[in-house]
Amino acid sequence: MKAKGERRKTAGGMRKGSRRSAVGGQRKAVSSERSAPRILTRAEFDRLIDELVAKCAVYAPVAVEETGKLEFRRIGSSSEVKLEGLADVGVVGQLGLRPKELLFPQCEVLFHFSPSEPGRMVEPEPPQEQVLFGVRPCDGAAVAFLDRFFSGRSDSSAPSDIYYRARRERTTLVGLACNRPADTCFCRAVGGSPSGTTGLDLLLTDLSDGFLAEPVTEKGAALVADMPVASQADMEKKQRLAENAGQAITTTIDTASLKRRLDRTLVSEGSGPADAVWQALSLPCVNCGVCTFLCPTCRCFDVTDEEFRGRGRRMRVWDSCQFTLYSRHASGHNPRATPHSRFRNRVMDKFSYTVAMVGELSCVGCGRCISACPNGIDIRETVETLLKMLPE
């Protein structure tokens, strides 16, 4: 990984002001005159990246030596970006913690303070502009969910989370359609698509001899405004790729029926038989936090203070409903004391609770929890069993 600000020389040679690869601005839907899909050759793409690198933080998937996996890392030059092959999810695998972690960091400072000045709490500097390249459509959908969850609600009981919002407003998401999904992918079963644009600003499709770039928001359109407009043949090629990718995902989930069945188990009285189903399903679960930390929509956090040598900070850190401590009262009473009640909470959150809270499922079908579970628990099998065992 290159250090910040390194290798900016390419940017210096750019035609200044010739290109409106502006970052920031409103995430409003793209206007019809700017919505035409564009074509980016690899050279154009590299130039775009290098120009952005000079202006803001640019993240893209790169191969990480230690883990042997692709992860979003801050890049210093277009030469580090490996978008080729990235559309082949089955081969390159899922992308670890990010982009969630770039919008909702695992540890985030809320305030700095000094014990010598009680009552004075100083917010950190606002985050910087960032552009993420190669975001999968499922992760785009997850960001759209987080946008809703962290936004304020009209009844004012839940104001907007300003830390999330500050990062989100300074973030541009450039998606890359998945041409060949992995066998753990099931976005279509939960309302997504391997070529979906939800949450993204711009969607790229790898046409192998270049990228098709479809603006979704004005922010995205600004990045490619002076690129050549795509031809009908390009569009048809994209269409074929999208159809093939869609067909490769065969899992289906009747999410409406599932929610009805799950909601019946909510009722305190008479949840006995459902309890047995949850117990059986959760037996292989050891209540670690892998699935929740990797999940692009899991967003629970703890707040913790630190103080060292007269300098303190209040931070929030990711937490997981799978941990015993998550719900335990200071008195020792724990409303979700049993492992299966915690397992249940996660599944319910995905397929029932968030629908009630913000009107959306919080499973985007990325499959991270499937590949990362140390005991091979597959959410698709869990859901299948629930649909079979719970009464409608």
């Binding site: 303070f113 014990p115 009552g119 917010e123 009981s157 956090f301 703890d302 998550y326 200071a330 409303p335």
Partner: protein
């Protein structure tokens, strides 16, 4: 950045009172350091707020004072890291406050009706606020009969003892204070567990609203008694105390099914709780 919902405002500890024999319950009475914060602070009995000590952390507590009282009161049991640190603070210390959060007791529904308050242990705090609010001369005519059953393990563990002794004298209030074991004490007068005392006192359920707050075990045994007495589930309200970190429906901790105790509660009708998992 615009208004930051995580930012505590400074408050000063004006008064610290040890509330029980075990000396692990203290009341902290707070004033606002800044006048503008005092003016902007409006709450309804039943709501809660976070107290904050920089370097230690934050924790939520029910507001034990009524809106009409000049100082904000919180009664805190020393039970964890934060409460231990708070207990070590004296008058004059500056701490943080954010809130008020949550809904409140169902004031619209309570208006014009009898009110039955059932409480156990140190959860009496927000119900004390409620009681004081109801008993305000300008508010009292708005309610019917008011019955309070408040219990603790032993006489020494009862909160607000002097105040309760005064309240016992009031003709417009039926206040029954009980303890699990009297152990020869001459006050209070009633021995017994809260649910049993409630059964004996048997307040009329017709046109009444019951407010319940207490430890989980008390809540469990109080429900059936209220049912026996004829209280329908939509007339019984509970104040819950799940673990929480943010107070604004973001951190996730306090969920009971799809509801957050912090923003959808802390007060729930028993009717609503019947549609939620028993995770409280």
């Amino acid at each position: 950045m615009t208004a930051n919902p995580y930012r505590p405002i400074p408050v000063r500890i004006e008064q610290v009172t040890i509330e029980n024999e075990a000396r692990d319950l203290k009341s902290f009475e707070l004033s606002f350091v800044n006048e503008e914060h005092r003016k902007g602070w409006h709450f309804v009995p039943g709501q809660f707020a976070f107290l904050s000590i920089a370097g230690v952390g934050e924790a939520p507590f029910g507001i034990a004072s009524a809106p009409s009282e000049p100082l904000l009161r919180f009664t805190v049991k020393r039970i964890g890291t934060f409460t231990t640190a708070l207990h070590e603070l004296d008058r004059g210390s500056i701490i943080g406050l954010r809130g008020p959060y949550g809904n409140s007791y169902p004031w619209d529904l309570m208006t014009g009706r009898d009110v039955v308050i059932v409480s156990g242990g140190f959860s009496f705090t927000t119900l004390r606020a409620t009681l004081v609010h109801i008993l305000q001369p300008e508010n009292r005519p708005g309610f019917g009969d008011v019955t309070v059953i408040y219990g603790a393990r032993s006489p020494g563990e009862l909160l607000y003892k002097e105040e309760l002794k005064e309240l016992e004298k009031r003709p417009d209030l039926r206040l029954v204070i009980c303890v699990d074991r009297l152990n020869g004490a001459d006050w209070p007068k009633t021995e017994g567990l809260v649910p049993n005392v409630l059964r004996q006192v048997a307040p009329a359920a017709t046109n009444a609203v019951a407010l319940v707050c207490g430890p989980p075990v008390m809540i469990r045994f109080t429900h059936p008694v209220l049912k026996e007495l004829g209280f329908s589930p939509d007339r019984v309200f509970l104040s819950l105390e799940n673990r929480m970190k943010c107070g604004i429906g973001k951190c996730g901790h306090c969920n009971i099914g799809p509801k957050f105790v912090c923003k959808d509660g802390p007060v729930f009708s028993y009717q609503e709780l019947l549609t939620l998992p028993q995770e409280y």
